[in-house]
Symmetry: C2
Subunit: 314 residues, 2 copies
């Protein structure tokens, strides 16, 4: 059995409050007492029970990270692993615990969040990939649960803290880039209709097309679930249609890989190098240097952080 604060107190010949003080506010303790207690802690290999601390403190140093993806999407998408590894690292540096939640249908997620928080399982939440309808967030707001969104929330953006890149600008830049290079029929593999990401990208694409109305660009948009398979299927559909696009802009790298495969399938040559201005090495990620150049170009350039970050209780 692991030793408790009482064991330490007994061995050191002090009260358990003093032991607690040694751990939490050592400066308030007489140096001789400090020494005695610390020796006892060493001897007994004492580690304060974090559950008991959380209970006594009435706060948990735990942050939940939620990603509304199916296991399959999570497995595929780099966004997931990047985000979770960074959050995880930051949490452990700051003595927080990170808990991961995935693979839940978005409808239930609101109740899940409330439960997690009310059960005091998490002290706060990081939510990702918000949907257009903010239903699951409403309860978080009304229950005053500390949370932040990675991505633009669908409603009440003034009240809801979030961080995001400027996807409207990303869509605009990518489209302008393709139009500049002479493309007039542009495929656009967007994300799911209910994601704000898709809304923002579309807004940028549409605005750009309108601004270039003289060139009469034709945007061929298709909805996807951001998986490789969807990228393949939708791109193949576009590429084998009468109005075959001459360029495709995708909402995600994974889609771009699907596009590449569909191009092979459709018997089309695929450019080795990005179709665009001179290549800068910092523009491309290490992963798919031969894919998704345009999307990445846009996002990197347009990716200034926006959104509101408010203080939270914890």
């Amino acid at each position: 059995m692991a030793s408790t604060i009482n064991d330490v107190a007994k061995l050191a010949g002090v009260s358990r409050q003093t032991v607690s003080r040694v751990i939490n506010e050592p400066t308030l303790v007489n140096s001789k007492t400090l020494d005695k207690v610390q020796r006892a802690i060493k001897i007994l290999d004492y580690h304060p029970n974090i559950t008991a601390r959380f209970l006594a403190n009435k706060r948990v140093k735990t942050i939940g990270l939620y990603m509304p993806f199916s296991a399959d999407q999570v497995r595929q998408n780099l966004f997931f692993s990047t985000l979770s590894s960074v959050v995880c690292q930051f949490c452990s540096q700051h003595d927080y615990i990170m808990q991961l939640f995935t693979s839940l249908t978005r409808e239930d997620s609101g109740r899940l969040f409330a439960r997690l928080y009310k059960e005091r399982q998490v002290g706060g939440l990081i939510l990702t990939c918000p949907s257009v309808s903010n239903e699951e967030l409403i309860s978080l707001l009304t229950e005053k649960i500390p949370f932040i969104i990675v991505g633009r929330p669908g409603l009440q953006t003034e009240q809801i803290p979030y961080v995001d890149v400027d996807n409207v600008e990303a869509g605009r830049l990518a489209t302008a880039h393709l139009i500049d290079y002479g493309h007039r029929r542009i495929g656009f593999l967007n994300g799911p209709a209910d994601m704000t990401l898709s809304e923002d990208l579309r807004q940028g694409v549409t605005a750009c097309a309108a601004a270039h109305s003289a060139e009469q660009p034709l945007i061929l948009e298709a909805e996807t679930d951001l998986t490789f398979a969807a990228g393949y299927v939708e791109a193949l559909r576009l590429l084998t249609s009468p109005k075959r696009p001459t360029a495709i802009f995708t909402a995600d790298d994974l889609l771009a890989i699907g596009v590449k495969k569909s191009g092979r399938r459709a018997g089309l040559a695929h450019p080795r190098r990005p179709v665009g201005p001179q290549r800068r090495s910092d523009r491309l990620g290490p992963y798919f240097p031969w894919c998704a150049d345009l999307y990445r170009y846009a996002v990197r350039t347009a990716g200034r952080y926006c959104g509101r970050i408010s203080g939270t209780q914890h």
Copy 2:
């Protein structure tokens, strides 16, 4: 303030033990009482505090998943996201909490594990990518901390529960495959020397080369840290050396992508299709259909689970 078990008891006009029973053993409660209490729970929106439950139960339903990668490796590697998403899903299905730990130097990890467990932060641990020297595991064994390894532990494989694919067989198969196809100088981008994965792969490769000594195959092994960058650098070194290999076998997909890039850099044509027997669609993952075919081939074929899974306390 969230309502507690005492609030519910008061409102329902029963003792808090009865409320506790309604939650944990409803069959032991009189149906009228049950009804009263459940109504009170509804009205007060009561959620049992999980921290208090853990403390009273003297067990935490929390599993730690540890991946000894740097943030950069984690971000890149698909193994990470696959494993964590699956573990996460399984945990939530079984009412467990998953906590993620990454980016720590392996030396400190032993102490980390002990601390996590002794602080009762986790009830058990899933460790990945074991190193040859089992130092960090020894303390887990002696402290009787429940844990399991994904990958073959370096020592005391009889005592330590683990699951793994048969990497020795994978190395053997991949090498045999390449020799069968006429290759005599075979590059072998292995993982870090201190990982058992690397040991196992090398054993298979070496054994296979020995078995085919008549053909005099030459194995050109290079150590990598399993990153894209290392794959590129080491492959380029091999490909620009006088004894340039005619085929390369890599320990990981990411290395294979690095190899591909180095091939381009070295001005070598890269086969579109796998060099091997007829392509079966189930043999390839969705990600890099044009890469890493040989490795995947080997692993899929050789990937029968081995290792020992013993029961744990929780």
